[in-house]
Symmetry: C3
Subunit: 432 residues, 3 copies
């Protein structure tokens, strides 16, 4: 664990920086280029596609959106006042083609800005309705000349193609699976959600180099339509194999951890997430499933019912930079990314060691003869470690797993692994 970490935050950040400028959407070249770079880090990544038009439950895979140009030009001066080549947030995602001259009043119907964040360019999409539009900062909007004419150009096409996603499966001793889902459809937005694919990439790297009890499955998909299509293809397998899953998003800032439960918050994923957050993190914020907003919307849908929750840093929608150009390479940090990776590693290690243990001896064992207790009994001495060993033993009654022990003793579950291994070696504990 230690070996995986030195400077890992900086490595994560470097990957994020590499992915940042790519113009992504729910389909198309941006997604494919993104997956290609991730595959450089994890060669096990398989890139898959689902054809445009294919039905997925109530939905249909949309055509690919190809956008070659998108700009606004002031007619009189010839000045290009906005170009999506400079910032891919400037064009509303899935805009239909347009090439028109408009006056200011006509133009402003197609401009999005955020009065509350005057420097920010908002992120807007229109996947499923015929619309075109541009996004700019409120400051820029205010500088527009109300008497000018503006030429608006969007050279976009909708082509039959694929919805692409990536998948990494790392086989373990057991075929039961731990599942991680993250999304790759957002353009130049750092925390929501390049931080997610980056964390998943590094968590997969961490896992591929160790003995694994469980099989691990990572998916890198476009949000919503991608999750729905992935479920269409894999639901039966996932329902049979997945014991815990996590939607990974917004894990790059330095804010407090957040927990969004599954529909009823009663799955193994919720149990391990809460056990780790409560006993290993300094603090965290607990949300309701009502506050959900990412692919746990699909994974926890009635009838899907996968054991999936989400652990984030500051939750989407709860930081002001959310879905604007302010969610950038300054908002996420190496430190923030590494803290999140550490926490997810704790989740993984807790699951890997989550056995039910049982004491082998009636009454407290004679710890002294095994050198597990000091020879002289003296109140002012501190016997924390012997007491921890006895606490582990006394609650290892065949009903508690590692997570239960951590919650009873209020200790981070990964801190229990060494003492448990000591007790196993001494023959005082056995795995049920």
């Amino acid at each position: 664990m230690k070996n995986a970490k030195p400077k890992v935050g900086q490595d994560m950040f470097n990957l994020l920086k590499l992915l940042f400028p790519i113009p992504r959407s729910i389909t198309g070249d941006g997604v494919r280029r993104t997956l290609g770079i991730i595959k450089d880090y994890i060669p096990e990544l398989e890139i898959k596609g689902i054809k445009s038009g294919e039905r997925c439950f109530d939905w249909e895979v949309p055509k690919e959106w190809v956008c070659e140009e998108a700009y606004i030009q002031e007619v009189d001066t010839g000045k290009v006042i906005l170009d999506f080549k400079k910032n891919n947030l400037h064009v509303v995602g899935y805009s239909i083609p347009v090439d028109k001259v408009l006056n200011f009043d006509e133009l402003k119907e197609h401009i999005f800005y955020r009065e509350d964040l005057p420097d920010a360019v908002p992120y807007v999409t229109s996947y499923y309705s015929s619309f075109w539009g541009f996004c700019m900062s409120y400051n820029q909007f205010n500088k527009l000349n109300h008497n000018s004419k503006y030429r608006v150009v969007i050279k976009s096409r909708f082509v039959d193609g694929e919805l692409n996603y990536g998948e990494v499966v790392l086989k373990g001793k057991e075929d039961r699976e731990v599942f991680f889902s993250t999304y790759i459809c957002h353009p130049s937005l750092a925390n929501d959600n390049l931080s997610g694919p980056v964390l998943c990439t590094f968590l997969a790297k961490y896992l591929k180099n160790k003995d694994r009890r469980y099989t691990y499955r990572f998916v890198f998909i476009p949000e919503t339509i991608g999750a729905i299509c992935y479920l269409k293809r894999n639901l039966e397998h996932l329902k049979e194999k997945v014991i815990a899953g996590f939607v990974v998003t917004c894990v790059g800032d330095e804010g407090e951890f957040s927990y969004i439960p599954s529909r009823y918050g009663n799955t193994l994923a919720d149990k391990v997430a809460l056990t780790v957050l409560e006993n290993c993190a300094k603090s965290f914020k607990r949300y309701s499933y009502i506050d959900r907003g990412s692919d746990e919307r699909q994974y926890c849908w009635p009838g899907v019912d996968l054991p999936v929750c989400s652990v984030t840093k500051t939750k989407y929608g709860e930081f002001k930079e959310y879905h604007t150009s302010l969610d950038n390479l300054e908002f996420v940090t190496p430190k923030g990314l590494e803290e999140s990776l550490d926490l997810y590693i704790k989740i993984v290690e807790s699951l890997e060691n989550n056995y039910v243990y049982k004491t082998t001896i009636l009454c407290e064992p004679f710890m002294r003869k095994r050198n597990l207790y000091p020879g002289v009994s003296y109140w002012s001495a501190k016997y924390d470690y012997p007491q921890l060993l006895l606490n582990i033993l006394v609650y290892s009654d065949g009903t508690n797993d590692l997570l239960d022990l951590a919650n009873i003793l209020k200790i981070c579950p990964t801190e229990l692994i060494d003492p448990i291994n000591l007790l196993l070696r001494e023959g005082l504990l056995e795995i049920l």
Copy 2:
């Protein structure tokens, strides 16, 4: 629902005013006149009787108490200092006949007043012991001449007759019943409890004009002995049919709502009452069954075990006017009565629509193609209504009824009825 309400509070108040002066007791003409007036409003009311002397469990129906005169006269001056014809609270209910001349010290043994409320005439009864007495205000008591002689006259008789009660049954599509019980034995007291019969009258009027899923049963009975006798006659039927019941009392003031649970607070009546109070009322006060005081004492007795709780405005015993002449036509208001009727209508409508619903589609449905979701996704926009629809769908997993949904989403259940009907029409939801 809207149609039933305009000025309904004033109509309720007018009925209350009509009933106020009638000298009621647990039996007799006062009860019969009261029921007669209610029948004018609800011709479906059946007036029934149980003969004096009939055994009801551990009790016996008492004789009718007929009181023709009750006054105190100062002998020297001939002045009538108190006459129950002016205020029927002046005589202790079920007083035995008396015609005597007493000095002050003898008299005061038979006078009740409230030192803590010097203007109030208290309400006192002596149903089951041979006693006579008068009630007056403490101010009046203090004006009595200690050296005078007083003639006390109560011309009362105990006659074989009936204990009367009224019953309205409104048949629904189902023979399962919702039950409302209120009492009609108090003399000139407005909130406790003319407000109860008035609310039940108007709730019955509201229900008779609509399609009903359930059958509704309203009983207007003398408190305690009436409830016990009613149970003696109807227990088997009630235990088989009643799914939820309510003791209606103290519903005319403008105070906070109050909730008195059934014996364990775990019936459908408790569930609907709490769901409505928590999600539709501004605030309410929660009592324990230990605080009970009306006919839930009988309905929730072990072996009776009906699903009955009580929803009031300020609870009996918790307002200073309680059981005194201050509980009058100034203490109850049209506004207070109407607020209570509204709340009981919400309870009824919540029950009528209390089905278990189930989503028909795997994963979130494609709301956009049904025009249930905006075309352009933009964070600063508010998607409350689409989100409500999705929240209803995701928790309609075949385990939650309307009340569960309201509690999960923290929304008044009657506000869920329209969106649920929309989703049913769209085929996204079905009733289990």
Copy 3:
């Protein structure tokens, strides 16, 4: 109950004073003398022994430690600066023999003191490792001449003998047992734990003079090894018969009561302890089983699983005098001892009367005809007692025992015994 109490606190204190000077350890004459004195109070006490070397689960009964002399002498002056005959805390328990002359630096490796309590001599033992040592106050330690030579003498032997314990069994109508365990291995320490044997002695005296429903078993054992050996001999019987048990320790000070639960806090012992503490004591402090420290460590071990918790005054380790010479005859008081005995008597009486009761009548009974309700109904009167009777009746539905009733009504269970007996006599209640 009243008769057992007058001046009982002083009687308890006198026994404690008698036992205080005896040099006790986990084995040997100190234990036997202690048990002998207790037998003078309770002739039913049987004194038993387990031979040195006998295996008890993971442990072995140690040899008896005989200590004839233990002192430190300043060589130059000949002055005896410490002698365990003056205070048996001065020698580390189970010290091996020694007779050496040491310089100060060598000596101080074998001296224990408490810098945080400069007047206190700490209590230190070394049962299971070869060691010798002395205990003194920090003030005394500071007065030692660093240039002196010191002769240290401990004339101790380890002899084959017995581990002794005492047992009182008081047969009841039922062979189900209530179990009390206290320890007798501490030397001159008053609260921890002479208060425990003293309380058990007086509780046994109280019980032997009354009709008993249950059988009562008291054991006076050395802590830890004694409990383990006792369980080795009696586990099967205890698991079959004991319905509730208590570890009695630290019951002599005037602090707040404390509750240390069984492993999961879900036994009848926990239920009765909590019911009495919550409804009869002014206040109490609730600990976790993680905070355990006495023989509940053994009684609640997985596979032992006896229904045992502990009720103390200020818990061991939570008062500064703990395990020092300050835990003396000034720290415990007659008042403190008597308060604890009273509470344990309430626990016992609550268990003895812990039946499930059932109302015999449908609806509220007609209390008036039995003179259980006042004749005149008048709000300003207080009907507490009739209301208590009705509350007992309404919750006596065949599901609640006395402890449940106490918790529902928030009344000390022993205060319910008289009203329950009245209702039983009136035929309104029956025992299921």
